[in-house]
Symmetry: C2
Subunit: 492 residues, 2 copies
């Protein structure tokens, strides 16, 4: 007789590019978001949690005639016909929310938002399709004071979560200055040339001034021996870009002077430099000097929608990369002014400015600096020596919890006592409590200091080990006090 | 010449059945989740945040041959062919996570999870397609001590978030008892009859004992005059159900005695009653009496996957419903033991028990009881009288924030000063600060108590109004102290 075929078992896997977060990863992020929300709130920003699902129409990244509009987003069609998608950032939903609720919201509307966003992109190492963003934006204010406020708040936030002054810098630039430079180059509306120049600017960090000159001109032989075609500009045309890229002076005043020279007579460029000057003045008046916030023309920011000031927060300390080389930690937040996002819905231009913090990178930085413990300490584990006295053990954990101590009874397989200590070990428990029938009769409990025990196991001789100084017998009514004492001794 | 057609503007709307949450709604929920997480953590539960997106295969609700498997979930197909979906609860992902990571996780694995889930259902009033769940589960323990622990933790949690003892009760039942009753009725494997009996049990609250007898027998004329066909059981067959439904005694001991009678000689029923007795004993030993946790045979719980103890937390205070009638607030949490969820993946049965708290209903209950302010107090608003002195105003808010006071500069349209006070009003600001050129020269600021001002405006005569006792002039260096004084006076 043929065996009956069973349905195959489902694979226990996250979809490609997704992952789960466990224990300490979740709680440290939650704690950091709480600290950030505290700063944002103190600055007058209100929380907003928009729905994770939007109509593709509202997200607005897609052509209406594409059959399956899922380029870059996770999208699906409703039975009635609407295409829906998971939000890919927190800014597009903000524009929709503001347009939808503008009659009920204050103007300006300062809001913060934190939560996952989803990108339908090819996953890679350390590159996930669901990740956290944490944004603050001011909608409805065209004042550079709003931009300055965001920069100051960003600096305050980094210090609040544990990045000390000196370990970060907020760098500020202005898209209008860049536009002024392009104008001064006489590129007119030649979008291809403009794009090629922008791409070249992005390479300044790598190739330096001479490299940029070559790339803007005829071209350049790169380190691998390949020849990179240049943009084909004359030396005079390239001049303003080079002046712009090398305009960072000893202080903001010097940088501003250099920028004014780089933009030549461009009106839009002049406006941009004026705005940068006002931002620097406002920040200086509040005590945010260039040790925290600095004008830096090398900040470009990828997104095309920025229309004015742009900012980026960098961590300046060095770390070792996967190949053991020292490098700077780099960017953890960025943002800028974008004045056209709400217009899509209402036809009216609404000025807006904001910042987005890369929560996971910031957490990685704090771990790197040893400001977050890599693993968390587990609960005190009360072992079960006698299954009929479960109520006794439950009473112990209840007492411990009432004293604010994290504690649990072992509820697994009782056949082998070793399992219970292995479990405590896996939980990273600091303390195990043991009460067998003998202890019960004598009114005592055994308390094992598992942290000290592990230390002794690593270093002690057999004689020291036999003394077992990491295990203590105390009267039952001193259980909580002794556990507290051990936790205190380990600074927990 | 024909006008050029513009692309139509996108609608600024959430998809049907979705909504946004603003300000206080977000922060009060976050605070409640933080409190709940604190209790769960103290009980030894670890946080887990699984990915919001799962493979449809892992969620496992759907037939493999359905072309578009989106019944009840939001699902879409990847380019490479996998169907993905948004999680519809936090339990199915837990089963997948445990199966995937079981070699790295402790056993038992106690975990809590909180976050949105999505249901592709017809939206209705107050019924959304994205909502929060907040779960705690113990995977890998078959001990009733794990069930008892969940019940105790649920009681502690409700008290922690602000539901006082006496305003809630955790009711406990056991599916095995119900199975024993069905066995005692002699229904055997007649699934249709079993289902009909279960549906009838659910109506006990409404129709009472006599009604249930009719519905189990020939049928019943309901209040609207319609005749409801009965299940067609004999009086003897119906006996155990009626005994079961009326088994709640004056205390747990009486209830247990009645239940033993109701199940007759059923082995599975006896096992269920034994488990209930053990749970009641364990809880009593820890001081959780029937004022907090009680055995109640009327708890059925909809989900088919429960296999043992089931629990439900009810708030017992009365509220007024939308028609002004008094009714009990009802259920805010429920759960139970489910022993088969992990087996789908691994082939091995893994016992598990857990609870899910309906976060939004619990928040509604706290609002109902006046334990959460309906609206939050806004920031102190520093008005802008002189746009050239923005730095001065920014310095004021910086001082206020450093003193821990929520504050912001008005950054909107400066043409009309009235706008600024309207803005402060819309923000629910408690205080506005005014410093014109005259005040600046004299080294003072005007501080408006907006809460007092609103009270006066409602009740004062014109003379009182003219005195404007809600506005104070203080030296500039007393700004923070005076604002603090006003906030304190309003208990803020």
């Amino acid at each position: 007789m043929a065996k009956q075929k069973k349905a195959p078992r489902p694979k226990a896997e996250t979809p490609k590019g997704f992952r789960d977060y466990f224990g300490h990863e979740v709680t440290t992020r939650a704690e950091m978001l709480r600290q950030i929300a505290g700063v944002y709130h103190r600055y007058g920003f209100d929380a907003l949690e928009s729905s994770a699902v939007e109509t593709v129409e509202a997200l607005g990244k897609f052509l209406p005639d594409v059959d399956r509009p899922n380029e870059g987003v996770f999208a699906w069609q409703e039975d009635e016909g609407d295409w829906l998608a998971l939000r890919y950032d927190l800014t597009a939903p903000l524009a929709r929310v503001y347009a939808q609720h503008r009659n009920d919201l204050p103007t300006p509307y300062r809001r913060y938002a934190m939560g996952p966003v989803w990108r339908n992109e090819k996953p890679g190492p350390g590159r996930f399709r669901q990740f956290y963003q944490c944004d603050a934006d001011t909608v409805g204010s065209g004042s550079v004071a709003a931009d300055a406020e965001i920069c100051a708040m960003l600096a305050d936030t980094l210090e609040e979560v544990g990045i000390p002054r000196g370990d970060y810098v907020v760098r500020v630039n202005n898209r209008k200055v860049l536009n002024g430079v392009l104008e001064a180059m006489g590129l007119g509306d030649d979008q291809d040339k403009r794009d090629a120049v922008l791409r070249t600017i992005d390479k300044f960090d790598k190739v330096g001034e001479a490299g940029v000159r070559e790339l803007l001109g005829k071209g350049r032989l790169d380190a691998s021996g390949a020849y990179i075609d240049g943009v084909g500009l004359s030396d005079e045309q390239a001049g303003p870009v080079v002046a712009f890229l090398t305009s960072k002076g000893a202080d903001n005043a010097a940088t501003l002077t250099n920028l004014r020279a780089a933009i030549g007579g461009s009106a839009i460029g002049g406006e941009g430099v004026d705005e940068l000057e006002q931002i620097a003045d406002l920040l200086a008046a509040q005590g945010y000097g260039p040790d925290r916030i600095v004008i830096d023309p090398s900040v470009v920011r990828g997104l095309g929608y920025y229309t004015g000031p742009v900012f980026e927060a960098e961590l300046t300390f060095e770390i070792f990369d996967e190949k053991g080389r020292k490098r700077q930690f780099g960017s953890v937040a960025g943002g800028g002014r974008y004045d056209d996002l709400v217009k899509r819905f209402t036809g009216q231009a609404v000025p807006a400015t904001g910042v987005s913090i890369g929560v996971d990178r910031l957490l990685a930085a704090l771990r790197e600096k040893g400001r977050i413990e890599a693993r968390e300490v587990g609960p005190v584990v009360v072992t079960v020596m006698d299954r009929d006295r479960m109520a006794d053990y439950q009473a112990m954990v209840a007492e411990l919890r009432q004293a604010g101590i994290r504690a649990e009874v072992y509820l697994g397989n009782l056949k082998n006592f070793g399992n219970q200590l292995k479990y405590a070990d896996r939980r990273q428990s600091p303390v195990a409590v043991i009460e067998g029938g003998d202890e019960k009769d004598r009114g005592v409990v055994q308390i094992k200091d598992l942290i000290l025990g592990a230390q002794i196991a690593e270093t002690a001789t057999l004689e020291e080990w036999k003394d077992r100084p990491s295990q203590f017998e105390v009267p039952r009514d001193q259980l909580v006090a002794k556990v507290r004492e051990i936790l205190d001794a380990h600074g927990l």
